[in-house]
Symmetry: C2
Subunit: 353 residues, 2 copies
Amino acid sequence: MRSEKGVLGLPLNIEKGRVEMIHGSGGRASSQLFEEIILPAFDNPWLRKAGDQAVVEMAQGRWALSTDSFVVSPIFFPGGDIGSLAVHGTVNDLAMGGAQPRYLTVGLVIEEGFPLSDLARITQSLGSAAERCGVSVVAGDTKVVERGKGDGIFINTSGIGWIPRDIVLDPSAIRVGDILILSGSIGEHGAAVLAAREGGGLVTSLLSDSAPLHDAVQKLIASGPGLVCLRDPTRGGVATVLNEWARETGLVFEIEESRIPIRQEVRGISEILGIDPLYLANEGRFLAVCRPESADRLLSVLKSHPLGLAASQIGHVKAGDPTRPGGMVRMTTLMGGVRLVDWLLGDPLPRIC
Amino acid sequence: MRSEKGVLGLPLNIEKGRVEMIHGSGGRASSQLFEEIILPAFDNPWLRKAGDQAVVEMAQGRWALSTDSFVVSPIFFPGGDIGSLAVHGTVNDLAMGGAQPRYLTVGLVIEEGFPLSDLARITQSLGSAAERCGVSVVAGDTKVVERGKGDGIFINTSGIGWIPRDIVLDPSAIRVGDILILSGSIGEHGAAVLAAREGGGLVTSLLSDSAPLHDAVQKLIASGPGLVCLRDPTRGGVATVLNEWARETGLVFEIEESRIPIRQEVRGISEILGIDPLYLANEGRFLAVCRPESADRLLSVLKSHPLGLAASQIGHVKAGDPTRPGGMVRMTTLMGGVRLVDWLLGDPLPRIC
């Protein structure tokens, strides 16, 4: 029943065609875009129904819900693209709650004139990333805005994941003496996107660290107790997550610069751009707080996972300072000094995810 | 712990301030925007946690998932705004599956320079609409794009709703002889938005029909069996939904123009703009297919609901024509002729939702 072609009765010219306003009209052209480009990238029984909603069977218990819009520029960058990033970003938000990601929805806002070939490439990347993560894209929506009223493509992904009953990860449980673990080297996503944005000016072999973290998290959880909370340092980087936790608990988070893994290329790009890598976005790393007696076990489990090879114990939690009710983040530098790691000051790093 | 103010230590100037790139940085300015404008509009325990994900307790069974991005222009229109529309749109997508909407996520993509006062007005409208629908906004995300790379604000809402075990609404169950019911007068949302877009050129007292349909649907379901499927005629209007069902079933959908409720003002605007009101968007109406023996009961239940006062039995389903495997939609006109109601042809009606 779904064999009719678009307005002219012809299949879309994916190689040379562009998204037009009529592809957002909800009529036959919208339907053609869905069937010839979007559906093939995610084919599953829910999307094939193409109704207003997907119906899934869920188990009784605790579920994590999350949403994220992606506006990264450029949309293709070394190590990924906005499609795979949109999957990893939401999968990771679910994973940080201890959830096993199950279902995703995808909302596209496309600018008129966007190449159909780029749309096909991005939706395929999104579909492959979802498949690798074991999540099904069960519902979607596509809107088109006029030329100059968007920027190529923006993607929203919302997700839902199942949390085993006994897992509670919550920063309110952080205590003095807890240990801070970082799952890998920092700043590669931010540095790769910023380098790509500079174009030819900054040639590098650096790749984004964009990757799904749920498997590594599940292995940590399965190894035993002691994990207190997790957060992935995306926008605003490691410095921002630590400041959030400091503010939420009123405690002091002490880290050692020498224990923070960072690739030489990230350091180089940060110096050229005048950016502290602690504020650079990561899309495949997490920070964990754990009880001191579990730290060695958790670190060793993490180091045995492909995404945790460079994991490191980077610091610990100390009592708050009564004169600073909002807590603080302090770092012992490579030179042996101690400096405050504040919230991001100065220029923001826009459109990094 | 959440009392610190932004970069300058001052509260946001909601009356005169604007969204800046730094509000999308993920740092303290993002946090301030969240706490002073967004959180107050939706205050609930999940959002107050402000983590990467919300954790909800769900019952075992069937759940509906849906997502929708809203790019309506203008963002404020007679009878609503992009905030309330974003709630009604997703609530209605869930309702069309027979679901009771429970949780929403909200993703904002805001253009640099957008007035904070408009953001506050829209988030408050979104929050109030959610409250009236009995759904909790449990997770959200805000991104900022540079001036000229967006258009004020785009909103994605994704939702989840619980479906009572015995409810299955599916167009594949449509049979010859089934009756078509329309819940109210058509085209008011589309006509109101198009009139608002024309500015002073088209003065009218017409309001969008934007409204949540889940309550009316639940009352239909509770009244007994016989409901086959539902769909809300948003983008592309009543004509598009009927064409989708025709294509999905291969059957002929016959409607009578004289039975389709339409306000005089919608007819007038349609004539001025040269648009067939059957293609105008609705945001508070639905089409139902039901078994003939249940049609009178369902129509009377609907007519007793505030959103179904003008409900009407507009036609029925006939056997398919072997020469047209994709089915078709036919209408007996006011003049007594019969015409084919095709997919939307000609100019699309962009940014209507």
